[in-house]
């Protein structure tokens, strides 16, 4: 996917092959060195990049890119060249060259824009630019080597586990770092850098290898991911600002994974999903100790959670049973309408029209914090010397919830029910003729999704401290669906990535908020064009989107056989 720079004809490349490697290596080294030099005269911008030997923001980015470049170059030729038999260093270097140039140009533009002119750029910046250009040009002339297939790779199992753990630690650092950046220029620069580096590693085949080892050590991966998520609040030093964003991301992600059961597994398009989150939230609000709560019965929160979830599931059944008999498009319209009906009902159930349940447009404010088993969620707590604020408390509960939702997702996906869903997606008539109860299965998917959203909603009500109709507008449903489509239908990891991107970007790019929708629209159009199955797609979904791609089918087949062989060997 090199949109920026056209590729070089093979003949030219072969002619100059020997010059490519030194150029690329030199470029990478320059990038690394530039990080140690001063980039700007102005210490007040971009987190102070004026000091030599004290790398910050863009200096760090250049150094990271430089290190990746050096490693890739040495894989091609030099001490790491054995690794070069497995990873495609040439493709990696080419992608890295493009990414580096983008990052450095963006950084230099940021400096000159903020400080007033190119004059403010110190030699470090120019060295980095030179390095990026050398890497770009050099990378283009590095010839590709013939590779071994990862199917035959046999690495040390301990090493593989270490790689997973290190990677997860990097993710943790990256997340903590990016959340700590208040400067939008740095934030965007980091995104370009991270995206570019990921692209380069993907081109080099790193992620293919990663998916192989994570198949082999699935439990390690899951555990490490949860450990990272668990440790995250401890990196925030008691500050609630980022934790508030993090809890919002978690609620959004939990809801999106629930929606992925409906959309990604059962194959039903639901445009009113936010209503199920809302019904859970309203149930919790009405049964809370808030002054304006409308139901006198105050059961323990665990009971409230179950009631909220069951109410949502019941709504799901009511709306699903007449509509699931018709095909996809009608369902989308009916669910869209249902979402609006829910919002308008909450808006109007204020005692003037019908019973007073929701206080109408005012909603139910002042919902007190949760208090479970004597643990007050409203107060900061001290654990092992770290102060964990109010949002951290909710964060941990939401983490548990998301763990449960992921469990439901994966287990249903791998069960008899999951097979039934796949069969329905593939050929509904044939599935029926084989005795699959298509209607019941679709209804089940719909209800399970609603149930999980209801669960998330009950926690959301307490965390938000209020529940009002304007929280549950159609746009929210659309965002949820975008997270699923962007991240990847039918996978958990994909939706987590999609939800994080969609929730984090608007928070960090507040100056851009007017163009937010435009940006999302563009993003979705580009995704549909380039990668309709989403960022991290399930293999089956990928095949469904590329029905004619025989090469992809045999590739996935190969992967599958390797996995099965590994499973059998264990």
């Amino acid at each position: 996917m090199n949109f920026v720079i056209p590729t070089i004809p093979d003949a030219t490349r072969a002619q100059h092959a020997s010059k490519g490697w030194p150029l690329a290596l030199a470029g990478s080294v320059l990038l690394l060195v530039s990080g140690l030099l001063s980039w700007s005269y102005d210490p007040s911008i971009l987190g102070d990049i004026s000091i030599a030997f004290w790398p910050a923001t863009f200096q760090l980015f250049a150094m990271i890119l430089g290190v990746i470049g050096i490693v890739l170059a040495l894989m091609h030729q030099g001490p790491l060249s054995k690794l070069g038999n497995w990873f495609d260093a040439a493709l990696g270097l080419r992608a890295l060259g493009t990414a580096s140039l983008l990052v450095i140009l963006f950084g230099l533009f940021a400096i000159s824009y903020q400080a007033g002119g190119l004059i403010n750029i110190n030699p470090g910046g120019w060295v980095a630019l030179l390095g990026a250009i050398l890497l770009l040009v050099g990378g283009r002339f590095v010839p590709q080597r013939t590779l071994h297939s990862f199917a035959k790779a046999k690495a040390n199992s301990t090493l593989e586990i270490v790689v997973i753990v290190v990677l997860m630690a990097l993710v943790l650092f990256g997340l903590a770092y990016v959340l700590g950046q208040d400067d939008p220029w740095v934030f965007v620069g980091f995104l370009i850098m991270a995206g570019g580096a990921a692209m380069a590693l993907a081109r080099a085949g790193f992620f293919t290898w990663l998916s192989h080892i994570s198949q082999r050590h699935r439990h390690v991966l899951t555990l490490a991911a949860f450990a990272v998520a668990f440790l995250f609040p401890f990196t925030q030093d008691g500050s609630d600002a980022n934790m508030s964003i993090a809890t919002q991301v978690l609620i959004f992600a939990a809801t999106a994974i629930g929606l992925n059961i409906v959309v990604g597994l059962a194959g039903l398009l639901d445009l009113g999903y936010i209503a199920f989150l809302g019904s859970g939230a309203y149930v919790a609000a009405m049964m809370s100790n808030a002054a304006s709560a409308t139901i006198g019965w105050k059961p323990p929160f665990v009971v409230v959670m179950l009631i909220g979830a069951c109410v949502a599931a019941t709504l799901g059944l009511i709306i699903g049973s007449p509509t699931l008999r018709v095909s996809g498009d009608y369902l989308a319209i009916v669910t869209l309408a249902f979402g609006e009906i829910f919002r308008l009902s909450m808006f109007n159930l204020d005692g003037n029209n019908g019973p007073d349940l929701t206080n109408g447009p005012n909603g139910i404010p002042g919902i007190p914090d949760l208090n479970l088993f004597g643990f007050d969620f409203g107060k900061p707590h001290e654990i092992a010397g770290f102060t964990l604020g109010r949002f951290s408390n909710y964060y941990f509960v939401l983490l548990l919830l998301i763990g449960f939702i992921i469990l439901v997702f994966t287990r249903l996906n791998n069960s008899r029910i999951g097979r039934g869903w796949v069969a329905i997606r593939e050929d509904e008539r044939a599935a029926e003729a084989m005795g699959v109860n298509t209607f019941a299965l679709k209804l089940l998917g719909f209800a399970v999704g609603a149930f999980l959203a209801g669960l998330a909603g009950t926690i959301k009500a307490h965390q938000d401290t209020a529940s009002s109709p304007d929280q549950y507008i159609f746009l929210e449903s659309a965002f949820l669906l975008s997270a699923v489509v962007l991240g990847g239908m039918g996978t958990v990891a994909g939706v987590l990535v999609g939800a994080t991107i969609l929730k984090l970007l608007p928070e960090k790019l507040r100056f851009f908020s007017e163009y937010r929708l435009l940006l999302f629209g563009l993003l979705l159009v580009v995704m549909m064009r380039v990668r309709p199955e989403g960022l991290i797609a399930s293999k089956r979904r990928q095949l469904e989107f590329h029905e004619d791609d025989e090469a992809l089918a045999s590739e996935i087949q190969q992967d599958h056989l390797v996995e099965k062989a590994a499973e059998a060997a264990r």
Binding site: G420, A423, E426, E432, G435, I556
Partner: protein, 278 residues
């Protein structure tokens, strides 16, 4: 009707004919003004292979769909072990009637094993909760389904292809996989819609051996086919449909020697262009 039976067929002993499995009486299927199936009687017994032949557009597949609950006949009754089944494919499968499709309808992006396991769906009952909790019932049923599916793949000769994606399999194997999937529903009667379409002579012979093997398990088999030699070697009785009506219903010998059958195939083909094989 007299059925002349020999004891040996294609070099194997012919099993005893068992109870009546399927009994169709005066089945009529109308689509608007078009009478696709008109007053057809039909029956199949356990351990019997029955053929259904006829020129294109004779209504074979429509009749098939009436038998398997895809269509509700306009009039007439279809009894399965003496009971009239509701016109729902699922209920029909559950009762013990399974089918394959004329144009292969496998779940292409699933592996062969998974395809057959989908066939086990109607014989298992574990629901969402036990699936999420991995309860004892779920584990037992899952292990059983897997074992039975593997066994059936071996039975049709695809034991080595269990982990191949259905869409990546050769054509002949896909046909056999469809049969394995149908067998996974534990049928008493299996209906095969053109099981040898597009096959070479060698594959056709293999398909015939497979169908005999299925019959030998005591199942009743109904086969739609165009390949006359295949049908006459395979079947105990043959029904020839022409323009929705039963032309003749008898042993292969009787059907083969009937001049009207030959005429229907060679002479009376004016319907062929008007109506596709519905």
């Amino acid at each position: 009707m007299t059925v002349i039976e020999t004891d040996v067929q294609d070099g194997r002993p012919r099993p005893q004919r068992g109870a009546k499995v399927l009994d169709a009486e005066k089945v009529v299927m109308r689509f608007g003004g078009l009478v696709a199936v008109n007053n057809v009687d039909f029956d199949v017994h356990e351990g019997e292979i029955v053929g259904l032949i006829g020129p294109n557009g004779a209504g074979k597949t429509t009749f098939f769909n009436c038998l398997t609950g895809m269509y509700k006949p306009t009039s007439g009754t279809v009894r399965f072990y003496g009971e009239v089944l509701p016109p729902k494919p699922r209920a029909v499968v559950k009762a013990g009637m399974a089918r394959t499709f004329q144009n292969i309808r496998l779940f292409g992006n699933m592996t062969a094993l998974e395809n057959v396991m989908v066939g086990r769906y109607c014989r298992t009952t574990s629901g969402a909760i036990t699936s999420v909790l991995h309860g004892p019932k779920y584990r037992r049923e899952e292990a059983e389904s897997r074992a039975r599916a593997a066994e059936l793949l071996d039975f049709v000769g695809l034991g080595k292809s269990a982990e191949l994606l259905a869409r990546n399999m050769p054509y002949g194997d896909q046909r056999r996989l469809e049969i394995a999937r149908a067998l996974a529903t534990d049928p008493k009667l299996i209906l095969l819609d053109e099981p040898t379409a597009g096959m070479n002579p060698q594959e056709t012979q293999q398909a015939m051996d497979l169908i005999f093997k299925i019959r030998d398990m005591g199942l009743a088999v109904v086969v739609i086919e165009h390949d006359m030699r295949f049908i006459f070697q395979l079947c105990d009785r043959v029904l020839c449909l022409v323009r929705g009506e039963a032309l003749i219903w008898g042993t292969p010998g009787e059907v083969q020697s009937d001049p009207r059958v030959i005429e229907a195939y060679i002479g009376g083909s004016e319907l062929e262009d008007d109506e596709d094989d519905a």
